[in-house]
Symmetry: C2
Subunit: 331 residues, 2 copies
């Protein structure tokens, strides 16, 4: 296995990662990534070193071609953006400020390096929009028959206590920050209209995206309200999570962890652009769902959707709401 010749760094723009090798590909990707204000040692050594004030928040999430995304529907730029959004939403949901990411990527050797550059641009743009100051401090690039994207994200609590799922109390209000339902509507549209002869079709997906930008963008390149994580924590959030699997299912997780009932009202939920079924049971919104004391001053950008009661489970207008949502092994 000969080592990569540095002359390949000057390979043509349409070179594949197999042609330029791991080091050649990294040489083209790394300069596109944000350094980050908390980075002490960035990519290139055995490990990175990141500033932390007594503790750090960490979450990890894997996106696989097939179960988690389709190459015909998502651009590489989308994948970069979504990998950042989904992971930073978990950091935000602890009441933390995102500081850093590491990104492990496995792709077929025939992948053009230009695709990885687009992926890096998607990462960089999402970081710029969602969490300026956050950096990509390291990663891993290897081969795979189908693409695998494994991101781990870090945050700083800046002296705050982490906001867990278990702190909701009867009498609290239930709020959501960000959109609900559009991502689920988007995936439903793609399955309905972007499969041709049983195969995911890129052209149909592009047409659908022009026709239904809200739902498709929410599914393919979501923009969750990351900055509201620390704002909700400072407003006194007693419990918080990001709605990754569906409002009904994720609300049931707060209910179970806190030993309370989450009583949702349909009226505010009908204000979302997506149909109520997707608002309740669609996944991948990555909105922040939080509970706060009744007398808390609610920050701008949050919507009250219910109250916390003594009891268990989740209700909608007083009726039990089934906790239907996303389980990767239940399809």
């Amino acid at each position: 296995m000969p080592a990569t010749d540095v002359s390949t760094l000057a390979a043509p723009a349409d070179a594949t990662v197999a042609q330029v090798g791991e080091r050649g590909a990294l040489a083209r990707i790394l300069p596109r990534l944000p350094v980050g204000a908390s980075t002490i040692v960035g990519p290139g050594d055995d490990a990175a070193v990141v500033r932390a004030d007594g503790a750090f928040v960490v979450t990890t999430d894997t996106m696989l071609e097939g179960p988690d995304f389709r190459a015909a529907w998502s651009t590489w730029r989308d994948l970069g953006a979504k990998a950042v959004a989904t992971n930073l939403a978990d950091v935000a949901a602890m009441g933390a400020r995102p500081t850093a990411l590491v990104v492990a990527l496995a792709v077929p050797g025939a992948t053009p390096v230009a695709d990885l550059e687009s992926f890096a641009d998607g990462l960089a743009e999402a970081v710029q929009v969602l969490a300026p100051g956050c950096g990509v401090v390291g990663g891993d690039l290897t081969t795979s028959e189908r693409a695998v994207i494994a991101v781990t994200a870090f945050g700083s609590l800046d002296g705050r206590r982490p906001v867990l799922r278990s702190g909701a109390q009867a009498g609290d209000v239930v709020v959501v920050a960000g959109d609900l339902g559009s991502a689920g509507e988007g995936i439903a549209l793609l399955f309905a209209h972007a499969i041709v002869d049983g195969v995911e079709d890129a052209e149909s997906a592009r047409a659908l995206r022009r026709e239904h930008p809200r739902a498709l963008e929410a599914q393919l390149a979501p923009v969750p309200p990351i900055g509201l994580g620390t704002v909700l924590a400072d407003a006194g959030a007693t419990a918080m999570l990001d709605v990754s699997d569906a409002l009904a299912l994720d609300a049931s997780r707060i209910a179970a962890a806190s030993g309370v009932r989450i009583a949702l009202r349909s009226a505010p939920l009908r204000g979302f652009a997506a149909p109520l079924e997707h608002v309740l049971h669609g996944g991948e919104d990555h909105a922040l769902l939080a509970t706060l004391p009744e007398d808390a001053e609610l920050p701008e950008g949050v919507l009250v959707i219910g109250v916390v009661e003594d009891g268990a489970g989740v209700t909608l207008d007083g009726e039990p709401l089934p906790d239907r949502g996303w389980d990767p092994f239940a399809t």
Copy 2:
């Protein structure tokens, strides 16, 4: 997609992850994992929270079925052990003490939960042996046609400066801690003797492991000297990395990053049990390669294998040594 019924937690021992669902599988895996002495919030929330004294060290590495391991050759316990060893070696190579891991795992739905329990036991045992006090603080479990293991590991510098690849100085001695060559010998043996009719064969691999335990264990379940990372840092290491791709290639990385020549001697390298070709060009040893000032007091367990000189590249007994090693895209 119905949510997992908690009654499935009492599923039979031979249940698959598809049968018990993500939550059911996690309920059986998580109790087997070490909590860790630095863990403030462990698995189960949106993110974990880990203690850190001003900074944390972070590294990530992905193992894919196919390019990185073969299901017929590695047991699930091996995979857990190797995932820990490879990542903690990167933490140790910065001069840091491992504090935590997150583990993202993707497996086919037909995988028995018992296999994941074995994987968890492999993780736990390796942590116990290599870095007691380190914890598994979070992860991700999802579906994939072929298994994917993505681990991110963390360490504390405990006030030390990180040991980079770039600090080697002419006059330093070059040392190695841990074995060299056995892992490369092991993979060569497996390719030579554990493929039957073009397919990796589990029974042949087991027989080979009984016959060549040193080489096969080093390849399948390595035990690098993690604890010597902080010891070498305290002894004054000027540069350090873990030998993951091959001594020749990894030494060339220190040479390039530091702007020096690494002059190796063959005599001490011939003392390793594996043939010199594997010692020089085999990968996956995860030994620690370090440079220290000439007058440093060398800790027990390290072997002097050369000196740092003015110049560039790597030599063996004065002759240029080609930087052959492992590049995932160059096969």
